[in-house]
Symmetry: C2
Subunit: 244 residues, 2 copies
């Protein structure tokens, strides 16, 4: 399993991903699921991946090959984020179909992706790309997208994230969301990758690779965990408890 | 959808359920999903239901008929909680099979149930009964069971519930869990039913029917929501934020 999320606030974008992969419960590994693409003076893009690891790695290789080709191809040939999302979707479907052509049954080569970033003079945006190659943009009312094991970590995002949330607060909510998910589902685990992008920078603002004992993440985890227990213990008493 | 949960702590049991049912998104209704069975001086049982509403209602009717029959049948004929869970499972499978015999395709008559309670001189226990009639007991390490839309509300239970948690704290965690779920999934909604059972009482200790504006639930919701935002806003700053 996997848990990745992207948040689009007024001041920029936040991307976060875990790094656990598993084929069954007895084949567990650690792989990055966040990939960045820089086209100097033109665009900066971030891809988050979930689903079949062979397919997502094939997609990542293809995107990189296209980017490095002599004539402008792929992200370099796109002029806006929507075109980039269409290109990622088409690449994903092409590669999945290629490997599925000899597939008999019982396997699933699908993958679901988040693509975010900005082309020069365009807005910063995030898109969720489905296995079928179609895609959606985040909502202005709930400006985040999630892939993989999304439910455990959604309540905190629903409470915190608004379009005008600061980039740093959005990043903290992403870490809390990953932390809640990791506690409830063993198939989501650190190290976590966290990337903050400030609008119009066309380059990353901050990149962090966080282990369980990384000082910032450890202090956030401790404060959140202890704070939640304190808050819980301060909840209003039932009427009959007040008499005792 | 549905969200119901039961918690078994040393001092007793907590049961909580929402009341939203839906057949598609355009056919939404409110039904109780908590049913209680009292056999004076012998047992007290609580059933929580999820899944196909026609099947769960058929099960509830049958359990009640058996209980009211002249010769001891059903819960009255059982001698412990495990036998009661086996009886509920067998009843569920029998009724599901009866209605499915003419089913062509495309519908799902399954239901998943939680049964909890106590027989005199036995322990208080909770069981999750699967659509196939088999069942599991709660773990001493995570002494709660959930059915329906279980993920949004699990993190708080994972953090709070231990075997020696007080009955009232367990009840509060159930309400927070329902509240988090309701915020993230429209198919879970109040009124909520909450029942607390103290071990060896063979009768309910407290029963509450909570609407969004019921004073206790409203104050708990407010305190939790505001407290979470305060806690979130007090999380450690990133290094670069401290300089500004």
């Amino acid at each position: 399993m996997t848990y990745c999320l992207a948040i689009a606030v007024d001041s920029g974008l936040v991307f976060a991903s875990d790094s656990r992969t598993n084929a069954g419960v007895d084949n567990v590994n650690t792989y990055p699921k966040m990939f960045t693409y820089s086209i100097p003076d033109k665009a900066y893009l971030v891809l988050l991946t979930s689903g079949n690891l062979a397919t997502t790695q094939a997609i990542v290789r293809r995107l990189q090959e296209d980017l490095e080709s002599e004539e402008p191809k792929g992200f370099a040939a796109c002029e806006d984020m929507s075109a980039a999302a269409r290109y990622v979707g088409a690449t994903s479907v092409e590669l999945k179909n290629y490997y599925e052509k000899d597939l008999k049954q019982g396997a699933n080569f699908d993958c679901t992706l988040i693509l975010g970033g900005q082309y020069k003079d365009g807005p910063h945006e995030i898109f969720l790309v489905y296995p079928e190659g179609n895609y959606i943009q985040s909502s202005p009312y709930a400006p985040f997208l999630q892939i993989g094991e999304t439910k455990y970590g959604k309540p905190i995002l629903d409470r915190v994230i608004r379009h005008n949330t600061s980039l740093e607060a959005a990043a903290r909510s992403a870490l809390v969301s990953l932390d809640s998910t990791m506690r409830s589902n063993l198939s989501v685990a650190p190290p976590f990758d966290l990337l903050m992008y400030k609008t119009n920078a066309l380059a990353p603002d901050h990149e962090m690779h966080l282990k369980l004992n990384s000082p910032y993440y450890a202090s956030l985890r401790k404060k959140w965990g202890e704070g939640l227990m304190d808050l819980f213990n301060e909840l209003p008493l039932f009427d009959w408890e007040k008499d005792s």
